[in-house]
């Protein structure tokens, strides 16, 4: 809330506030200028995603280390339910037991990791940026805390899934078999149809990967923006006569959106995991 009074005092406009919060702390030290620039590394996305990954691993490791075959504690029961859920879904979609040894844990990792990264949205919007600004001493230091609200992060993960799919395509069908499928799959084996088949397959891979990453990004980005708009409503209260109502509205709207956002956070992590399984499962099916 400290930024609410901050904003009123220094008076950046609503647009400036939001643009500032949508700018990454990257390796160049200033805001990214071109839309596509591969020389820029978003340090905040990297750091927060790695921290969340390590936290998730530590949590699972702690639970696994204290597992008992007697009466399980609440934590162990919760993790067991989660494991069972992921395992059931994996069994239903990926039929090869050998692949499941890798794909099952992959799905669990994806779920826990994305859930934790999405959960960064629940921290009050200005807490980490303000701490970061206090540490660096720069009042205008940029920081974005939700790694999945960065298109680079989510597309990176979906490209990872694509690589796993290609690996399983080659492993299950052999390189020749996969090539054969690429050129003959949707319409049939005829030299005239080869280029059409190949184009369709490429479009399918591209669409799968892009929509996989964009779906998570879009949901988290929109959620983050709505939190920012709600924060702006709270920030406006100090300057106006009817400010108390704005403040009350801020608290009410913020609570309602945060509660709804719990659903979105869990659902999107679940969907990303399910689609990972579905895509890997598709790689196992021969046409």
């Amino acid at each position: 809330m400290s930024s609410a009074t901050d904003t009123a005092a220094h008076g950046p406009t609503a647009g400036e506030y939001i643009v500032h919060h949508l700018t990454h702390f990257n390796s160049t030290g200033h805001a990214q200028k071109d839309i596509i620039d591969f020389s820029v590394v978003n340090v905040d996305t990297l750091v927060f995603s790695v921290v969340m990954g390590v936290l998730g691993l530590l949590f699972m490791w702690r639970v696994a280390a204290s597992v008992t075959s007697g009466v399980p504690g609440r934590l162990q029961a919760a993790v067991e339910i989660l494991l069972e859920m992921v395992n059931d879904q994996a069994k239903g979609i990926v039929h090869s037991a050998e692949s499941r040894k890798f794909v099952g844990p992959l799905a669990l990792t994806v779920f826990v990791w994305i859930f934790l990264m999405n959960s960064m949205d629940f921290l009050p919007l200005d807490v980490l940026p303000n701490i970061w600004q206090a540490i660096t001493g720069d009042h205008h230091a940029y920081l974005r805390v939700v790694p999945t609200a960065d298109l680079n992060g989510t597309l990176g993960m979906s490209v990872g899934v694509l690589l796993v799919c290609i690996y399983y395509n080659i492993k299950i069908k052999g390189f020749g078999g996969w090539m054969h499928e690429l050129f003959t799959a949707p319409f049939g084996s005829h030299p005239l149809l080869y280029p059409i088949n190949f184009a369709m397959q490429m479009i399918e891979f591209l669409a799968k990967t892009v929509s996989h990453g964009m779906r998570l990004f879009g949901n988290m980005y929109a959620g983050e923006l709505v939190f920012m708009l709600i924060a702006l409503m709270g920030a406006a209260w100090a300057g106006t006569a009817t400010g108390v109502f704005l403040f009350a509205g801020h608290v009410i709207a913020g609570s309602i959106w945060a509660i709804f956002h719990i659903l979105i956070v869990a659902l999107q992590a679940f969907i990303f995991m399910m689609l990972t399984l579905v895509y890997v499962g598709q790689a196992h099916e021969a046409h």
Binding site: L22, G218, A222, L225, F270
Partner: protein, 82 residues
Amino acid sequence: MEHVLGFVALAAGLIIGLGAIGACIGIGLMGGKYIEASARQPELMNALQTKMFLLAGLIDAAFLIGVGIAMMFAFANPFKLI
């Protein structure tokens, strides 16, 4: 400049509004079918529920991506420079 801002505001409204129409029709159809199906075969309810939530997320996604883009147009307007 002003008319660019006006058009962008209209566009943002259209993106959100049309997306909401589509997503709501989709969710409504799917929810109705789910209730129908689980009234016919209550023992399938749990299995269907997982799939329904998955599909709800998929239907929602296009709309929420639209909302995100519309919000970006509204606050970090990329057409301002033109």
